[in-house]
Amino acid sequence: MVRDRLTAEDALDRVTGALGERVVEARLNHGQVDLVVEADHLVEVVTILRDDIALRCRFFTFLSAIDRSTYNFDDGGGAGEDKKEKKVGTIEVLVHLYSPEKVFHVNIHVLLDFEKPVCPSITGVFVGAEWHEREAAEMFGIGFPGHPNLVELYLSEDFEGHPLLKSFKLPARSFVKDWPGAKDPDEAAAGGR
């Protein structure tokens, strides 16, 4: 039940206070705490968030990943100020925790190297993360050392490639049939199908 509801600001202060230097960057985004954390600090951060009495982020909402390789950071609005560094971390794991008592959200962004993304598994802290990590692994090709059985969740064994990466082109329907809307209004070719 909701004990003492925190406003976004003091939730941010509490989180930064509790985590100290483990966090690369912390800010508020639409009333939710946004943290950028290094991969090796992740398990520590998640454990603190869950166990710290002042925070009690006990509800594991989800873990997923975002492939920001084609995200246009240029016009400044990108997630982080230093755009150059952002370009490197173009794939990130996103962990979202929620504190039912204090009613505030924490988004943890873990920036990973694009070629070989590896992020420690948090199934030790939240056992529910197992399925989420299996999905992120098969969809983004992220390695999760420490995961009990990292097998595919949705896709079949013989599926090559990682579908949710931007590089994975969705096999468009165009080779099945061409797009009916392709005709321009004024030169609509007569005698279509």
Partner: protein, 494 residues
């Protein structure tokens, strides 16, 4: 905080009873043994579905100008359209031949369709409607592709939209008027639809009286169109394409209020009371965003063709005195547009439209005040100046506010429907079948006083005096001359 009172009941519920619960359960069944059943015996008794039910999509061929928006917007790629270009003889002797898109094939493959209604929503010319028929199952999946003949047959089963709940407010109106759209009497010959009034008896007990009672009795509710004076945004603001209730099927007059140029961001002025984008049917403005466009057709931004669709119920015509003179409207809008930063052509086009609107309201007010004569129906969508290049889409907004709806593109059947309550069922001559927008605008054909050539010189001089640029002046003069030849009222000679 878990609720305590629930806990007692929960704890009591969890204690094992001694068969009493079983008996209570059995009594519930016995009770139902003697209740009247609520089952509709389907084939004999049909459920009286709402006109909004998404059963099948019907096509009104006359309205389709092959703008391909629906085919592009469809997420499932299930609309196939073919058309060819035809050159039509000039409208009048002096005019140049006009090119027009004629529909060859318009097919919807209902095997793929997911009935989302994006096409019906996105169609700028109200050519697609929802009909509530759903009994068109086939044995062979190929027959599920309905060609345009069959789609037109479905038009017979399209029902007029429903009256709105009291609080409903149309975007274009300040006061919440229950703008009903007195529509054509629901076509009773709809094969299986059964008259909407016949609510299935056995279901009546279970279902409160079905919403659509008898075919909408058209109530001459103050038509919510914008009286000229109130309407400040005279320029062709892409004001709400569809009335709030977006039930365009029934708006008997259909307007093509296309802003002349592809305004990237609609310089829309918010008219009273409503948001810019009409609530339901946002005409799809952005360029075709086909689902996975393989190469992404580099189609030019299709002209944003918001279809102005003010409800067409009869409006109390304001007195001529308090209407703004057309010329004043024209000048006012040009300045407004200039400092609003739009390009000269945009400003000028908008001003022209505003002038036509103002003048139209003026003449209509003048015509309506002496007697409730039904202006002869001017097919809407008439292009004020020059014929609409197909690509660019119809230009002039012929906002037809006259009491008698102009040729009803929406009329389900070819027979033009008029507002029954308004002036009786005086059969309107069916508008020319071809959707070729008649270029004449203006309503009361008065005998033109002067001969065309004199009109030409006079207008040319006038325009020059007013300082408009040369091409504009000649264009206006020629237009005036054409009108004189045709003998309709021009904007200037209001």
């Amino acid at each position: 905080m878990a609720l305590d009172h629930v806990d007692e009941r929960l704890e009591r519920a969890r204690k094992p009873g001694f068969g009493i619960g079983l008996l209570k359960g059995m009594l519930v069944l016995l009770k139902h043994l003697f209740k009247r059943n609520t089952v509709i015996q389907y084939p004999e008794v049909k459920q009286d579905l709402s006109p909004r039910t998404r059963g099948v999509i019907a096509l009104k061929e006359e309205n389709c100008t092959v703008c391909m928006l629906c085919a592009r917007e469809c997420p499932d790629w299930c609309i196939y359209i073919d058309s060819h270009k035809e050159t039509l003889p000039p409208k009048r002797k002096g005019g140049r031949p006009r090119k027009r898109n004629v529909l060859d094939r318009f097919a919807i493959d209902y095997a793929l369709c997911m009935y989302c209604g994006i096409c019906v929503e996105v169609c700028p010319y109200d050519a697609l409607f929802w009909s509530r028929e759903f009994e068109y199952a086939e044995y062979d999946i190929r027959q599920l592709t309905h060609e345009k003949e069959r789609l037109s047959d479905w038009m017979a089963t399209v029902l007029p939209p429903l009256e709105l709940e009291e609080g409903a407010e149309l975007p274009g109106q300040a006061k919440p008027a229950t703008a009903t759209t007195p529509a054509a009497p629901a076509p009773t010959q709809g094969a299986t639809a059964g008259t909407p009034a016949s609510t299935s008896s056995s279901a009546a007990e279970a279902r409160p009286e079905q919403v659509t009672e008898a075919p909408k009795t058209p109530t001459a509710v103050p038509e919510a169109s914008k009286p000229a004076t109130a309407e400040t945004a005279a320029e062709p603001a892409p004001e709400t394409a569809k009335p709030t209730e977006g039930l365009k099927e029934a708006t008997e007059e259909q307007q093509m209020d296309a802003s002349a140029t592809t305004t990237p961001e609609p310089a829309a002025k918010i008219d009273a009371g409503g948001g810019v984008a009409q609530e339901g049917t946002q005409a799809e403005v952005e360029e075709a965003t086909a689902a996975e466009t393989p190469a992404g057709p580099t189609s030019s931004a299709v002209t944003e063709t918001p279809v102005a669709q003010p409800p067409a119920p009869v409006k109390p015509t304001p007195r001529p005195e308090d209407l703004e003179a057309p010329e004043a409207a024209y000048t006012r809008v040009v300045e407004a547009q200039k400092e609003a930063g739009s390009s000269p052509q945009v400003a000028e086009a908008r001003a022209k439209v505003a002038r036509v609107k103002a003048e139209r309201a003026l003449t209509q007010a003048r015509a309506a005040t002496p007697q409730q004569a039904a202006a002869d129906p001017e097919p809407s969508g008439a292009a004020a100046a020059g014929e609409p290049e197909p690509a660019q889409g119809p230009v002039a907004p012929a906002e037809q506010d006259d009491p008698v709806p102009a040729q009803g593109p929406v009329a389900p059947t070819e027979q033009d429907d008029s507002v029954p309550a308004e002036t009786g069922d005086e059969p309107q001559g069916a508008a020319e079948p071809a959707a070729e927008p008649q270029s004449a605008e203006g309503e009361q054909p008065e005998a033109a006083a002067e001969d065309p050539e004199a009109v030409y010189e006079r207008v040319l001089a006038e325009e020059r005096s007013k300082g408009s640029s040369d091409p504009v002046a000649t264009a206006r003069a020629k237009a005036a001359r054409m009108r004189a030849i045709k003998g309709t009222l021009g904007p200037a000679d209001g």
